[in-house]
């Protein structure tokens, strides 16, 4: 079983994602599988329902810009200090995707519902917002245990696939995630989990009491592929910083859809190695 988890290439890894999949990904710099995203674009996947946990950035913008996304569920899409996300902004303007605006804790809570096998979960706040007015899939219910207490009920989010990048895996398929707990939540909630890692380490990660608590056990992991600097141009916590020059290059190129393709071509041509 374990040997079969390891994919020979990123193309093999993303072959497990079907068109139209509900795909969950973490926020920028929390273990975004950028190298796998490049492979995903190469495969030409379409009609993805992307759930950003809880916000999106470079990865979401590239997937939007290459036409892979039909539905986008997120609390925000931002390039941080680089400003607005160009393809996201254009897609909203053109009505090119179905936008499901959310708020960060709602995305976490809806994943936690799936983690617990629950059909829905209540959450405070949200009542009176235009987010709720447009989210016809979210309901207001009465607290069954108290009088005059209305509360929002969110349907569980059950991703078909959770995709993220992490520091290392062992040969059993256990994955060291460090402090990036959202990827643990994503994996618990998803039907399948695809992981890229910087390296495969010897021994069993769960045997180390100092690190075991920061390990996603192999039971949640479907497939693993090695991707050195697999979060580039984004950061990987504790290992490398974001490549600001490359992100800035993307933001200036991505004013047009052709610019996104040029960025990807430069990436294939070794922009990462040059960094």
């Amino acid at each position: 079983m374990t040997a079969a988890m390891f994919c020979a290439s990123l193309d093999d890894l993303v072959a497990a994602i079907p068109d139209g999949a509900l795909l969950a990904v973490p926020k920028d710099n929390s273990g975004v599988a950028m190298a796998a995203t490049r492979a995903l674009v190469r495969r030409g996947l379409r009609n993805l329902h992307l759930v950003c946990v809880p916000t999106g950035g470079l990865q979401a913008d590239i997937l939007i810009g290459t036409g892979a996304i039909a539905v986008l569920e997120t609390s925000a899409v931002t390039m941080g200090e680089f400003g607005t996300a160009p393809r996201f902004t254009a897609a909203i303007r053109d009505g090119a995707l179905l936008m499901k605006d959310a708020t960060c804790p709602a995305i976490y809570a809806a994943l936690q519902a799936s983690e617990k096998g629950l059909p829905f979960i209540p959450l405070r706040g949200i009542i009176g917002t235009d987010i709720l007015r447009h989210r016809t899939d979210w309901k207001i219910i009465d607290n069954p245990f108290a009088k005059d207490d209305r509360i929002v009920a969110l349907p569980a989010i059950r991703p078909d696939v959770a995709l993220f990048h992490a520091r290392s895996a062992d040969r059993e398929g256990n994955v060291f995630i460090g402090k990036e707990r959202e990827v643990m939540l994503m994996a618990h909630a998803a039907k399948s989990t695809l992981v890229t890692v910087e390296e495969v380490v010897e021994g069993n990660l769960l045997d180390d009491p100092a690190r075991g608590g920061a390990v996603l056990p192999a039971i949640y992991v479907s497939r693993i592929a090695i991707a050195k600097r697999g979060a580039w141009p984004l950061a990987l916590g504790g290992m490398y910083a974001p490549d600001d020059a490359a992100i800035g290059r993307y933001v200036s190129l991505a004013r047009t859809p052709e610019g996104v393709m040029q960025f990807l071509a430069e990436w294939d041509g070794g922009a990462q190695a040059a960094a």
């Binding site: 916000t55 899409v77 931002t78 996300a85 708020t103 976490y108 987010i131 509360i151 959202e182 939540l185």
Partner: protein, 242 residues
């Protein structure tokens, strides 16, 4: 009086607004609120805990992004900062865009955690440096988070103040109105009226925003600058140049 910058004035006002808090959280990409919060912590003789999202040194969370929201719902966060591409006179905030949704004319990143934290954190400080009629509108085009709620909604939190580059407002939750508390040095009530698209309460004599004293400025320029530098190095360098 020692000369000071606008940023130094704003962080001093923020620190004053945070007095008495046990735990203040600051969102990502918010260097001035973070500096104000770290100043308040320094002035509290470290009686205050400050969590700065996006920071390695000033962030104690170990359960991922969800921890901030869980703490807020339990009442373990006393103050937080929100902004808005638009803010109206009832303290509704819009972080989504202008025009009609979803194909807005201008699209901003999104609501982030505002639709939740605004309800749950007792002292939400609305911070937006730009004070123009483009931002301070009669009515927001999209409510990311409402300034007030009816009694059937659990709401221990809400707007406490609105701080801009021109002045400081408080918010009366019963009346659903802002009140101009002070005007920053070099600006006037008329200038604020001219640049505000909504009506607000205004006393006959509006005081000038209290300037930072020598001890506060020294604290900002030394200790706080070092604290904020671990998260916002370029911003901290500019603080020093003041």
């Amino acid at each position: 009086m020692i000369p000071f910058t606008r940023t130094e004035l704003l962080v001093t006002v923020i620190a004053r607004l945070l007095q008495g808090c046990r735990h203040v959280a600051v969102g990502a990409s918010s260097p001035i609120p973070a500096t104000g919060a770290l100043l308040a912590r320094a002035q509290s003789q470290d009686g205050m805990r400050v969590t700065v999202l996006g920071s390695h040194k000033q962030n104690f969370f170990t359960s991922g992004g969800v921890e901030l929201f869980d703490l807020a719902a339990q009442g373990r966060i006393d103050a937080f900062f929100l902004g808005g591409g638009q803010i109206d006179g009832e303290a509704n905030i819009n972080l989504v865009g202008t025009g009609s949704y979803p194909q807005t004319e201008v699209r901003w990143p999104g609501s982030f955690g505002s639709a939740y934290l605004y309800f749950l954190v007792p002292r939400v400080i609305l911070f937006r440096e730009e004070h123009t009629r483009r931002v301070m509108v009669p009515k927001v085009d999209f409510i990311s988070a409402p300034g007030s709620s009816d009694a059937s909604v659990f709401r221990p939190g809400g707007p406490h103040a609105l701080l801009t580059s021109l002045g400081l407002f408080s918010f009366d939750r019963a009346q659903r109105r802002f009140r101009l508390e002070s005007v920053h040095p070099g600006h006037s009530v008329e200038e604020i009226r001219d640049n505000t698209g909504f009506a607000f309460d205004c006393p006959a004599n509006v005081p000038s925003t209290v300037a930072p004293d020598a001890a506060t400025l020294a604290c900002v320029r030394e200790r706080v600058r070092a604290d904020v530098g671990s998260t916002y190095p370029q911003f901290a360098a500019r603080l020093a140049a003041a």
